[in-house]
């Protein structure tokens, strides 16, 4: 049974939430999940004109940047938060997804939903190609190699005339309607619901994997790679898994972004995007799904709303990285402390 009084005795919001969830019955959990999803699905109707930003209306901001950032931050969280691998080239997978959409969408008769699996597959393949050499390296070297990879993808797109070079690709088709749901730029509710479904699928995937072999292997790798290897964890294999799953989410986000913006160019896929997404993950709390979502929502919305920040967006994000790491390395909603749970269980038993 839920006992709110007990739950709020926990020290931080993350633990309050965990406490409520742990003590809820199966039915209560279902009610909570459904009502939460319902609430999220109704978000486009809840702006009331108060949440509009100076540049665009609330519905559009909800899709990009807020929804997209949350989606990508969740994907990057698999790599950075779960397995402790610093990937500074995440934008590459986003770009690969977007370019797949742009090329196939303008030159073949495939629509967005048919291109989606192709884009995801290509992004995963790129993740494998990069990961096989790069994941043998550790820490800072991995960071620099991934950073270079992100730049390579951008520069290659810039220098390849067949895909538009610096001019990019225009007239990318919007997704075809699903039943009564139409996709247009004037009313972005359709896009928002698609992003929401993708976010939910990603959360579902992360939660499933976290409690299974892969999740345990990632946790072991994050805490101490040498020990994990000694314990018989095939570290390279699980790192590759984490890398290509992260890439898959990035690629999916890219495909959707491509068909939402109608026009893409290499200049949209600079290192800055990788840094923004990394800041979302770090600011919210590495490894914690809720933290990452809250962090991404805040960092995506505030610069849109406050013009002053919007010009200096990256400066603010850089500051967020430094300050979070120095004063609250676990982010605003830290991951649940495993040790704390074990201690509590022992107390209850003894």
């Amino acid at each position: 049974m839920i006992n709110l009084k007990e739950s709020f005795k926990e020290s931080n919001f993350r633990d309050v939430g965990a406490h409520i969830w742990e003590h809820a019955s199966a039915v209560e959990r279902k009610i909570m999940a459904v009502s939460f999803i319902g609430l999220a699905a109704l978000l486009p109707f809840m702006g009331f004109g108060l949440l509009d930003t100076p540049v665009s209306d609330y519905g559009a901001v909800l899709v990009y940047p807020v929804g997209m950032f949350i989606l990508m931050a969740l994907g990057l969280n698999i790599v950075v938060g779960k397995s402790g691998l610093l990937d500074l080239g995440y934008v590459a997978f986003f770009a690969i997804g977007a370019y797949t959409m742009a090329i196939l969408g303008t030159r073949t008769s495939l629509n967005t939903w048919e291109i989606m699996p192709i884009g995801i597959a290509l992004a995963m393949l790129a993740g494998l190609i990069l990961g096989l050499p790069a994941l043998r390296l550790r820490g800072d070297y991995l960071a620099i190699v991934t950073l270079g990879f992100g730049e390579i993808v951008r520069i290659s797109a810039l220098n390849t005339r067949e895909i538009g070079g610096p001019n990019g690709i225009a007239n990318i088709p919007v997704p075809p309607s699903i039943g009564p749901l139409e996709f247009s730029l004037n009313d972005q509710k359709g896009f928002f619901w698609v992003v929401l479904v993708m976010i939910l699928l990603t959360i579902w995937m992360i939660r499933r994997l976290s409690v299974r072999r892969a999740g345990r292997a990632w946790e072991a790798i994050r805490q101490d790679e040498d020990v994990a290897e000694l314990m018989g964890v095939n570290t390279l294999r699980y790192k590759l898994w984490s890398f290509s799953l992260g890439a898959a989410v990035g690629g999916a986000a890219g495909v959707l972004y491509g068909s939402k913006t109608l026009f893409i160019a290499p200049e949209m896929f600079t290192l800055n995007v990788s840094i923004l997404i990394l800041a979302c993950v770090v600011f919210g709390g590495m490894g914690n799904i809720w933290g990452v979502m809250v962090g991404a929502a805040i960092l995506a919305y505030l610069p849109e709303r406050i013009r002053f920040i919007s010009d200096a967006r990256l400066l603010v994000f850089g500051l967020a990285l430094v300050i979070t790491m120095n004063f609250r390395p676990d982010g605003i909603l830290p991951r649940k402390k495993r040790e704390k749970v074990i201690v509590k269980k022992e107390k209850n038993n003894g």
Partner: protein, 316 residues
């Protein structure tokens, strides 16, 4: 495809060496810090970038030099070069100390994991470059020409311009001074002791914070000197000038074996040459791709570089 390379081989070689010396100086910033901290100084490219702006501000605003096709009169020229070189070194050195204080010190004192330090270093590097982007409105800044770039002499088609010669001579001297300093001075010995064994050097009474600050300072001074030669040669700068140059200098440090000062020398020169040759063959737009591919190849095939320790084994 290879025509340009064959036609202009010696002239390319010369500019490769000049570029290589700039890489040598910047890669010292990476290599020295890596030696003591076992961590990449992510903000080194921004430390370099601040140096380039310092040079321009000193020459243009402080000394009031304006663009002219001729060289300044000799006394003023010497004054300009000295002030700009020393000034950019000091500015870069100070920025380096600031970076260490803000991004590294607190985290090191608390003993947090390396991922946290890495992210905080990336954060400060973004802050520095964005700060410069905002105050320069993303526009490139031009340096007034103070030195007529006339040819001194020519050997086998290679044109020894005065700025090229200055760069090579000054950079070589600075490198030798640094090498001697690290080898023989008291502080240099302390730096080497810390890079060999942190705990033992602490027990020997070495003030770790001081040594690490000093290492950042020395790395910053070298990057600052490099930034002066960069501006002398290319006569302009931009907020993101450090990005590709930093990646290349880091690659140079890895080629030579990161943490190894003499390795940085050979790494810098060989990368400068390879980059210039590769640009002649593939075209300049693939320059940074070449550098990156070299970086990955070295890391995968010979991670210890030519002279260094195995980076693969260092802890993440």
């Amino acid at each position: 495809m290879f025509d340009t390379l064959i036609d202009q081989f010696w002239s390319l070689t010369l500019s490769g060496i000049a570029l290589g010396f700039i890489y040598v100086l910047v890669s010292l910033g990476y290599t020295m810090v890596y030696g003591v901290l076992r961590m990449i100084n992510f903000a080194n490219s921004e430390i370099f970038m601040f140096g380039t702006f310092a040079t321009i501000v000193i020459s243009r605003d402080f000394l009031g030099n304006v663009d002219s096709p001729n060289s300044l009169p000799l006394p003023k020229l010497i004054l300009t070069i000295t002030l700009c070189l020393v000034g950019s070194m000091i500015v870069s050195g100070l920025v380096a100390i600031f970076v260490e204080l803000v991004a590294y010190r607190r985290l090191r004192a608390r003993g947090t994991n390396r991922l946290a330090t890495l992210i905080s270093a990336i954060g400060i590097s973004i802050v520095l470059s964005e700060f410069m982007r905002i105050i320069t409105h993303s526009r490139p800044t031009l340096n007034p020409r103070v030195l007529e770039k006339k040819s001194l002499f020519e050997i086998a088609g290679a044109n020894f311009r005065i700025d090229t010669v200055l760069t090579i001579v000054f950079a070589a001297v600075l490198f030798v001074v640094l090498d001697r300093f690290v080898k023989f001075s008291r502080l240099g010995r302390a730096i080497r002791a810390v890079s060999m064994n942190e705990d033992a050097s602490k027990l020997m009474g070495i003030d770790l914070n001081k040594v690490i600050s000093a290492t950042f300072l020395i790395g910053g001074l070298m990057s600052g000197a490099a930034s002066f030669f960069y501006v002398l040669t290319y006569e302009n700068t931009k907020f993101n000038v450090g990005f590709t140059l930093g990646l290349a200098a880091f690659t140079a440090a890895v080629i030579g074996g990161i943490g190894n000062i003499r390795g940085a020398f050979f790494g810098g020169l060989s990368l400068g040459l390879v980059e210039v040759y590769a640009s002649a063959i593939l075209g300049t737009e693939w320059k940074s791709v070449t550098v990156f591919v070299i970086l990955v190849l070295v890391l995968v095939l010979k991670p210890s570089g030519i002279f260094g320790e195995a980076v693969q084994q260092t802890r993440a």
